[in-house]
Symmetry: C2
Subunit: 362 residues, 2 copies
């Protein structure tokens, strides 16, 4: 055994060659025995398995990746791990991609395009075979790197005007617009908008809100209230308290997500404001607690899991067929779920379009 470049931990690391020596076969046979057992005779397989166990052999993935030029890794980019939305989405990705033999490399861009750029560089350095990204706005360099990489790329959660590869999303602007119309239709006029950090998706929903308000001659921007924090129940309570202090409690509140909405509802109770009589509240995403809140929380249901499942399946397909995309964009839509927190204020003037189960068109 030659050892020109011995490292301190050398003793601890067992290599394929050592296993091969112990089993009295060649290295390549050991490699095959581990990856395609049926290609190796039972006799040798037994000897090899024994040696592997005895020596405690663990294959070196770096070597394998280098030699095979395949990483079996898929890069996943999310803006934060601190939001259930993305946990559910990740879960779905896991469930499809792990059984297919891929490893996920999850990176958190912390809502920053610069961090995203660094992350993309790192992931490409790892030679990920595909990339699934939350969001559609990237730095020019990020776009260039992704285009150059010639790997399947899926952008999710927002409609991309210029998709890099495939785009699986819901129309956030339209959702914000429809949700606002839903409140307007129920007779609310002074409608506030609560949000935490102004990330891409929040801004799109806000744009939809402003558009709907503007169409009725109402000023939307004026009534938006935000703090640059993760949108949590506590933040919702805080924002509501702040509205109350400034005596600017509106007739209805459209919250950027159900966390803010629930926090706002809690604070209302504390302040002696009744929901929906004094303030109606509408959330977003229809998180698991919305239906069982008290009063139950109206919300816009989104399909995060399906989004993840579909993104993952598409990647697998693209990886297999290498065929050009049949379509660039898949619009998964959403659905407004009317519950107690937004009971109609005045007798309705128009039919509620069957509970507004509106879906973005595919």
């Amino acid at each position: 055994m030659k050892k020109t470049r011995s490292k301190p931990a050398d003793r601890a690391r067992v290599t394929l060659d050592e296993v091969a020596a112990a089993a009295r076969v060649s290295a390549i046979t050991v490699s095959r025995a581990l990856r395609h057992p049926q290609m190796v005779s039972e006799e040798l397989r037994r000897r090899i398995d024994g040696a592997v166990l005895r020596l405690g052999y663990v294959p070196n993935i770096a070597a394998s990746r280098l030699a095979s030029a395949r990483s079996h890794a898929i890069g996943i980019l999310v803006p934060t791990l601190y939001n259930v939305i993305f946990s559910e989405y990740l879960q779905a990705l896991h469930e499809v991609l792990l059984p297919a033999g891929y490893q996920l490399v999850v990176v958190n861009s912390r809502y920053s395009q610069e961090e995203e750029e660094k992350a993309v560089r790192t992931l490409l350095g790892q030679r990920v075979e595909a990339m699934i990204i939350v969001g559609v706005n990237h730095t020019p360099l990020t776009r260039r790197m992704l285009n150059r990489a010639r790997i399947p790329v899926v952008e999710t959660f927002q409609i991309a005007h210029q998709p890099i590869g495939l785009n699986i999303a819901l129309d956030q602007v339209q959702a914000g617009y429809d949700a606002t119309c839903f409140l307007l239709d129920r007779g609310y006029r002074r409608i506030g908008f609560l949000l935490g950090q102004r990330d891409e998706r929040a801004l799109e929903r806000l744009a939809g809100f402003s558009k709907a308000m503007a169409e009725r001659g109402l000023d939307g921007e004026q009534l938006a209230m935000s703090l640059p924090c993760p949108s949590t129940i506590a933040l919702g309570a805080q924002l509501m308290a702040s509205l109350h202090e400034r005596k600017r409690v509106p007739e209805a509140l459209f919250c950027i997500d159900d966390n803010l909405a629930l926090g706002a509802m809690q604070e209302c109770r504390r302040l002696g404001l009744k929901v929906p009589e004094d303030v109606a509240i509408l959330g977003f995403h229809d998180l698991e607690f919305a239906a069982c809140a008290s009063p139950s929380l109206s919300s816009v249901a989104t399909r995060r899991q399906e989004l993840g499942t579909l993104a993952a399946r598409s990647v697998l397909e693209m990886l297999e067929t290498r065929a050009p995309l049949r379509r660039k964009t898949v619009n998964l839509g959403y659905e407004i779920r009317a519950r107690e927190s937004t009971a109609s204020r005045a007798p309705e003037r128009r039919q509620a379009k069957g509970g507004h189960p509106r879906r973005g068109e595919p």
Copy 2:
């Protein structure tokens, strides 16, 4: 350029050699220019940087890892990504380890020791330089692999009786015990226990609960109620509803975490039960919404962030010094936060020990 083993995507991949050729220097100089710029003259550095940009070079990490025998990766094992507790913890790990130049490889064991074993194998195959694991119960093979790997290992969240390496935790049994005593001291006798899946930490807290109840001659196990689901607000509501249906609503409820507690509180409101008059409710972890719930939720505050920060810092230290551990276990303790949801039932018989700010002893 020889190409005995050409791969389809070959054209797309720029190598160090190609950059070197383009910059008219040797490969090793390019390598140095990228990793230790100050070791290369400014002239060459400029030429190299230009070539890198022009060719869109992205280093192949597998090759780098193989050649340097260093992965710069740290393995992180969590039971789920679906719980804020672990999101906060991960966030803390990120914040310490990324700036130190390490990459995190996060694997989700889904509360299964078998999946954990697979994950450990994968991580060791990636030659992670250290490992940070939630939990202390592993399969024998997992333990063996970890011991053999001769890398820093940190087990977190629970006290380990036989730590593999370092152990940073809070005493879950004691916390369950103390929390139960807190309720008993406030005059509650029929105390129920709500939990979701019976994972290691939940079972330890339950054990503490049972012990405290048994000491007063009360039967704890009898009053525990669980469903094998992630512990969410919705589950809390469901469990509470189920207690009510069976007419087994107790005087107080100790919930495995604040999610269940909040869900139970919501359901109480729906059922017309007053908190704390009809049922007192105590949560665990003191999540961000506990203090702003209405009524505010009593809880046992744990220090997840510090746990992560400390684990990460310890790993860095172990990686640097390679010195034997000065101590095997760090007990971070916890603190009971009494709020409205557990107001005293009867006039108190003993002093509440200053609000029970009890911390496990270090």
